[in-house]
Symmetry: C2
DNA sequence: TTAAAAGTTTAGACAAAGCTAAATAATCTT
DNA sequence: AAGATTATTTAGCTTTGTCTAAACTTTTAA
């Protein structure tokens, strides 16, 4: 698997998890920041290698082998994120880009030793689960802040958008994973939400609310 | 700098350090395990980018910028080797191949944080010096075992050949960096050397002797 | 000091991964 | 159910890094 192939597998994997349908050429092109024609070419190559099954005009789905490979890349990505944050003191908005490079290092021994060195972490700095050596992981039960109930308390357990901008926004407002928040008011007009944590009240936009994952406290 | 370009710079750097002349196309091809014609093509590209100076038929030398870049790659390689050995418990014959991949990760922050995490090591697991953030390092004063004097004692401080086979040979014979050895006898017939360390005597071939670096004890 | 050998470069191809423009299929609209 | 729109694929080209075979320099040695 080349670097480009691995990135496609990862992108297909992410899109499959988001909508459970076949992944369309255009959706993949959007995700990969490339052109639909390039996607078609690559999909054909991946189909040749039995990493995806592909019917022209009908989209693409990962094969067993393709999904297994994608999960390995995801495992590496998330382990490196933990390493960067916990051992090298990167901030959580900085880890993603470097992990994008490190996830392609080929050495099963390295991955497993790193896992051990980090004490077998279960989630990465954005709250996403880390597959174990065999590709198994627990899907985390999460509610978006938009779906939270007024009056109820929750713990922040993850983010949907792990862009640097969003994470910096959370940092600036002192929200991190583990923070307990209470839903004070949901404003129907603009879907903003007033929350309270550490005795401070804060109104967050719908956009922020959509991207923050919670678990009932 | 692409991955291939970086590997060429590194190879030129190593060859320059070995013989101080211009690096010939064939020598580079040998080092890179490729064909002379491929080397010519790449050299031209590196010359375009002012990373090397190149006169056809006369070989190639690194420019300031080229050398600086090569040193950065070497720094990363050696830091990762220390990480793999000290933090992840790789053995010294396993670190090289993985470091070959890790040395191309682009993030100055990562490199410098890693350096700090490892407590600014001065040498890698094979005794080679690690350049600091600014590219500076001390050349280590080393004698090959072939040049050692009978009756004299030395400390092992490095290896020339860091192939897995050679390092496994040393491991099997309990020779590691820091081991103090005494030269018992140099055999002129085949240039083998009888050494003694930890109260054990051992005869090593010329090939081994050439690849073991010492410092007077 | 010239011919052979050795070393190097050029010319022309190829595979990977991308692009644009054109063609084709699927879907939506009325 | 046909035309329009949207989605997808194909065709042909580009760049990077490699290769083989042929041509050309440089060195060596008679």
């Amino acid at each position: 698997m080349t670097l480009a192939e691995e990135n496609y597998l990862k992108a297909i994997y992410h899109l499959e998890n988001q909508s459970s349908n076949e992944v369309s050429t255009n959706a993949l092109a959007e995700e990969m920041q490339t052109k639909a024609s390039s996607v078609t070419d690559m999909i054909k190559k991946l189909a040749e290698k039995n990493m995806v099954s592909y019917i022209p005009y009908q989209g693409v789905t990962l094969s067993k082998a393709g999904r297994a490979h994608a999960v390995k890349v995801v495992r590496k990505h998330r382990l490196w994120e933990v390493f960067l944050l916990e051992k090298l003191n990167f901030s959580w908005d900085e880890v993603h880009d470097v992990a994008e490079q490190l996830e392609h290092i080929k050495s099963e021994k390295l991955t497993d030793k790193l896992d051990e060195f980090l004490d077998f972490p279960k989630v990465d700095p954005h709250g996403d689960p880390i597959p174990d050596k065999h590709g198994n992981f627990e899907e985390i039960d999460k509610t978006s802040l938009t779906d939270a109930q007024e009056g109820q308390s929750y713990v922040c357990i993850g983010v949907h958008d792990s862009s640097s901008d969003f994470l910096k926004y959370l940092d600036a407002n002192h929200i991190s994973l583990g923070t307990t928040i209470e839903i004070i008011h949901k404003e129907p007009f603009d879907n903003s939400v007033k929350i309270k944590f550490n005795d401070v009240e804060l109104v967050v936009s719908e956009n922020v609310a959509k991207n923050l994952f919670l678990q009932e406290a």
